[in-house]
Symmetry: C2
Subunit: 358 residues, 2 copies
């Protein structure tokens, strides 16, 4: 298997990306193709990397998309970027998966342009795999699509369920809708319509609304939201976790006694870090495109890169996209969705007419 890695993507590229790729090359039975400015990438590699690593390759890219680039412009204008070249290798069957910790919007746009979406999927979604008190949950979308229509949520639900089933090994994934109350009538105008649609479609196992306060309880395997709400839920939690760890450090350092206590319990803190550290969770899948794309956190260190490559490797060895495709077709059949009719314009009325028994 061959995994393409965007060597120029992320706040600490190419240094941390190359470092993480070398670790991945040692651990996984896959060829790793680093795409980027050849001179810069090879500076980060050992001089004899070709002898030392039989499975590391470098492919040159003339251009680099920075974190500050406006995604739509970068997608249109920087056609020789490491993102474009890497994705084209996946498109052409030269590689099985693409990983980048770079500009999320640009990776999303270029993936849509080059790989195209799966049939029936309007928009790819970014899924974040969250640790919870039970099994991990996948939350999607976390930022690719800020303004969504009801049918997009259904697509997210199907994509998330496929991922939970095939990658996370959940037999019958339960889907929840991110909202502000458990009851059906709680939520905003949009999510109330979505609730009705998801309840109507037995291709997914819809369990109702999931409140913000229940996210880390693990009450649902898949949590769907538009990219705005999903992103805020994800980032607000990260912020809260950051704040608590800051408090912990401050308070444990405050007195000699607490410093001694912390030193004795050091291993417990290391275990907590490992269980809650995002770098252990290896990147977010971009679901719904015709190929395997994993997006890493912009601030990825080499450990996060290594785990992101691992996720790409695992995802590429399984056929999530076929499952998505089959279930989308089935859902459209059940809901009698014909994309050529005016369904898309009056979905609200149509959905309200669908009975759960249909």
């Amino acid at each position: 298997m061959r995994i393409v890695v965007d060597a120029m993507g992320g706040d600490f590229a190419p240094h941390e990306v190359v470092k993480g790729s070398l670790e991945a090359a040692r651990l996984y039975n896959a060829d790793i193709i680093l795409v980027g400015d050849k001179r810069l990438v090879e500076q980060e590699l050992p001089k004899d990397y070709k002898q030392q690593y039989k499975n590391i390759f470098v492919v040159h890219a003339d251009e680099t998309i920075s974190m500050e680039d406006i995604p739509s412009n970068a997608v249109r204008r920087k056609k020789q970027s490491s993102v474009h070249i890497g994705l084209k290798m996946v498109k052409n069957g030269e590689a099985s998966a693409f990983f980048s910790a770079g500009n999320t919007g640009a990776i999303m746009g270029a993936s849509k342009l080059i790989l195209r979406t799966l049939e029936g999927v309007d928009r790819p979604a970014i899924g974040a795999v969250l640790p919870t008190a039970k099994n991990p949950s996948i939350l999607l979308d976390v930022g690719a699509n800020v303004d969504c229509k009801p049918l997009h949520y259904l697509q997210f639900a199907i994509m998330g369920s496929a991922y939970a089933k095939i990658v996370m090994n959940v037999e019958k994934p339960q889907v929840g809708l991110l909202s502000i109350g458990e009851e059906e009538m709680k939520g905003n105008e949009l999510t109330k319509t979505v609730f009705h649609l998801l309840k109507s479609c037995r291709v997914i196992d819809f369990k109702g609304n999931v409140e913000g306060k229940d996210i880390y309880k693990g009450t649902a395997d898949v949590i769907v939201a538009d990219g705005f709400a999903g992103n805020i839920a994800l980032k607000a939690s990260e912020s809260a976790a950051w704040y608590i760890s800051k408090l912990l450090k401050e308070e444990l350092k405050r007195t000699v006694i607490s410093r001694i206590g912390a030193l004795i319990a050091k291993r417990a803190f290391t275990r907590i870090k490992k269980r809650s550290d995002y770098t252990e969770y290896g990147g977010a899948p971009l679901l719904g495109v015709n190929g395997v794309v994993i997006i890493g956190h912009g601030s990825s260190n080499s450990n996060a890169i290594k785990n992101g490559i691992k996720t790409a490797y695992e995802l590429a060895s399984k056929n999530v996209n076929r499952d998505i495709q089959e279930n989308i077709s089935e859902a459209y059949e059940l809901l009698k969705v014909d994309k050529s009719d005016s369904f898309w314009n009056n979905i609200k009325e149509r959905i309200r007419k669908i009975k759960p028994e249909d």
Copy 2:
């Protein structure tokens, strides 16, 4: 000063409410009027409470609004509830503030009905005061208004600024808009319009978007959002904090050594709990109504009740509402908002025409 407390509000009412009220009665120089089922309330009070506490009074209410009641129904039908009777006492000048840890939607609805909103305020908003790495921030709305129009955000910004200035003693509160990227063009269709409106109105000090990841950094004194996004940000953070403290407990208990370490550092953990515990933050103000209303967390224990009463006491001793009223008038003057014209229908176009220099 007289504070009315809804003795029947909250998951642990009336027990914890009465207990917290007694603590508050000992600490603060205020009369506390417990409204609720007199028999049940007096069961929780010491037999000689009238001798022991000169500042505790009980007022009977025939009805109780439960956490499960549908807010709109409860507001219309349970006119003899402790919420209605308590709010009427504020309306009639018999008390300066109302505190309840009960059904949020019902408190909000009844407050709007009985106290009315301040002139120029369309909807009251619930503000949550969050601890941050710098000073506390107030996030609003956190659930009263799920679907908002741009002008509602401006009202929230003005109400939050008044609270930050007068209660939190911030000289010139900086306002941020909760969104999914720092730049002006990031966000959903609604927040992009709101960005433009807030930037145009110099009554507030607008500093731009605040991302989820920055909430606990304390980059803004006031963070505005619609009730959907605000609620999700607040509750997702609570969920993350709950999860981390669960991990902490599990890992610190795992080995004898870590248990010893944790015991030695016990005081540090107590300090952390105090700094991050919501029960220390005493309830959320309902801003924009013609009176002082504080809403407590449903699961409030006596400590949270005591601190909620403290917040009510502090807020009632200051005139936040006058400041809100003045600034709303000034903002409407600057923006030339006339609620009788069609402004409300075509606000998007109008806002786009307003130049920041106006």
